[in-house]
Symmetry: C2
Subunit: 487 residues, 2 copies
Amino acid sequence: MNSDMKIHEINAKMEALKSAFDQYREIPLSQRTRFMHDTGERLLKNKDRLIQIAMKETHLPAERLLGELKRTAFQLTSYADACKNGYWMDIRIQKPAEENKPVIKKMNVPLGPVLIFGAGNFPFAYSTAGGDTACALAAGCSVMVKAHPQHAATSDAVAGIIEEAVKENNMPSHLFMHVHANDLSLVEKLVKHPVIKAVGFTGSYKAGKQIFDWGNTREQPIPVFAEMGSTNPVFILPGKMKESAEPYAQTVSDSILTDAGQFCTKPGILVIQKNTDANIFLKTLQDKMSQATPVAMLNVGIYENYEYKKGLSTEQENVKTISTNKHNRQPLMGTPQLTLIDAKDFIANNVLKQEVFGPYCIIVCCRDINEMKQVASSLEGQLTCTLAATVQEAGQQKELIKILQSICGRFIFNGVPTGVQVCPAMQHGGPFPATTSSLFTSVGPDGIKRFTRPLAFQNVAEELLPDALKETNPLQLWRYTDDRFTR
Amino acid sequence: MNSDMKIHEINAKMEALKSAFDQYREIPLSQRTRFMHDTGERLLKNKDRLIQIAMKETHLPAERLLGELKRTAFQLTSYADACKNGYWMDIRIQKPAEENKPVIKKMNVPLGPVLIFGAGNFPFAYSTAGGDTACALAAGCSVMVKAHPQHAATSDAVAGIIEEAVKENNMPSHLFMHVHANDLSLVEKLVKHPVIKAVGFTGSYKAGKQIFDWGNTREQPIPVFAEMGSTNPVFILPGKMKESAEPYAQTVSDSILTDAGQFCTKPGILVIQKNTDANIFLKTLQDKMSQATPVAMLNVGIYENYEYKKGLSTEQENVKTISTNKHNRQPLMGTPQLTLIDAKDFIANNVLKQEVFGPYCIIVCCRDINEMKQVASSLEGQLTCTLAATVQEAGQQKELIKILQSICGRFIFNGVPTGVQVCPAMQHGGPFPATTSSLFTSVGPDGIKRFTRPLAFQNVAEELLPDALKETNPLQLWRYTDDRFTR
């Protein structure tokens, strides 16, 4: 673990971050775009070295890390490209409706310096140069990243590449800063520093909620966008079970098992109705979970937490273990496990509704659709909810669908929640406690909006307007005017 | 003052509000639109009665109240109309970029039941049927309004009209609920009730911050959109002063004096450079402020608070009173007052930077442009900042403009901040402490977004999608797909 920054360094670093912001926000969008593209390219150029470091720290396989690094570069370039078309800027232009009324133009402008926490389970894609950093840079903000202690060397290596890109692209120095800060009181000082105007976090509920509270109790409260976990329940209706119990069980078990289930969107709860088709589904799932070769988890902390949470869930009253992995248990290895419980017992026990981060899943057996609805109603806010059903039977279960949609940010029909696409239509976020603000997404170019605020320009002379708002639309951004979007 | 609701009634009322929400969110946009239009029409039909009640309670003149009622109806209808075109829904459609990738569609869906606090200074436009209510109803939320105690009868009358419209338009009963709750612990219970998913508030910093804190410390935190005051500084550069000292002083004094300065956008601080042109400006302003006939303020509480805050500001070290109103002082009458101070003393004294709600204004005298920048840098978050300047001199003061834009939600060039247009390009909101979230507006159809959250639909069969997301776009809403907006 790298040594923490010193408390006496904070103010100077923050001043530098502020000064970088004041310069960066004035830099033309085209240069911002070029810099971000170049950063992505540099990451890929260094892929062998980066993956090697990350493998050592996270035990993730090379293939997965390569995929993640490509995703990281894609996020940087696609959020940069979103600056070219500007739809996330929410530009509105109001010509005077009556005489003597002013022209009013509005656009999203950067919030200010942003503090971002590296995520333990995504050493590249949601850490140092990850989604939050890419969004903040696209927004026009300077960024301080607090390295995740469990992949500190990876974080250092990525930070070095970003800093190189900053320099080579003539961006303001200290536009990107990288710090190690593991002492809690130091982290609190960073979150509460007046220079910081927003925070991005992905991790545990405990840490996320603490940072959220710090953000709210500052002298000047700031938005804290924290993603804090989700059980991603999957509801399977009888028709679907009849139609494809076996193949769907294959798909679901892959979703549970990939990379030891260390995804925020891993399905942790399956809700089914008891019948003979369900038995085929269960059998397939049991086989897959029993036979799967356990893989090393990210680090000892994650492994121990998995063992503890898995044990806690399994030991609850009336929980039945229905798969025993055939491989010998070894330290650090995330052993897959499947348990089963009746709906009534599940509904009454909130411990079972907590996320178990790793290849664990609990199956909730219902007598009928009414019990499925009761299970759905008993759940807290989620990143995702999935309904597996034939179109016909789903059409008859509008109420269940309504309940599921009311508690999640993404509703999936006949699929699995893992595999979060980076695209404008993605919503990655959901009602508390999945995140601290369901009003925003952390994946896709709309995530840039988290680090911006609208600013209206009233009656401002053409010469004094930012290019984005000039009459001729020189940047060819999407703008809403006279009830229409034009470019 | 009407008597408070009873604590034992809360749960039943909240259940009704929740049930109304569950029904209302499913009602087609066209019916939502019709209901809101009808509500606006009913308000106007009852204008004589409503204005009579409001005049008694608020002392506002009939003409102003008529204007405000028209604005209220306009907000209802224009936010309703924004549902027809749907640009605030931020619809994004992602066709599969590669094979085996799902279709993902995203739109803003209503957050849930909303609690809204009536605003003291706008008995119609920002109270019972006001901007927040109109936004929440357009979003698809049910609404509970907590009546402002100082215009409780007006609130009752307006509520009766909304309830009539709910009934006549076959909307779910209890879609709109109206309560009196003046006991603080009762208000806390409302804000913290689990059914409530967002809060809208306009009023004092003290009350707004308290409600914000309650919202954040709930078991499930919710967004509290509180607008809490602003001094709306106006910076006047020498060229503008030379060009139009006298007419601009007329405009500014009207902005200070209208309706006893009881607007959140009243200019409370004027920042000038000392010179002979400035003397003409000051003389004109002094004359207007001295001669203006004081008008009755909203209520005794507002009047007493004005007297107290005006006194507090005037009595600060080195503050010089430069206008004495020629009319005899009378209880309830808001006597205009102008004071003057040197920049150095202003910068050092935070009392002078607080809002004085009423026809009071302090003039800050600077030696040069650098001192003007220092004054700007010393200010907190504002709803608006105004720069009065010739285009040429403004072009040379980019740094001052940058500072002003960094602390406000709306930047006005050569105008005054009062008169907040209801239009898509409006931003009414600003950095803390002007509001609790600078990321949203409370005026204009984008204000609807405060009461929505994005929901993504992945791989969902056409039959199961909301109309807004169906392939053929039957509602003709604006949608973003393949890097383009189409309708």
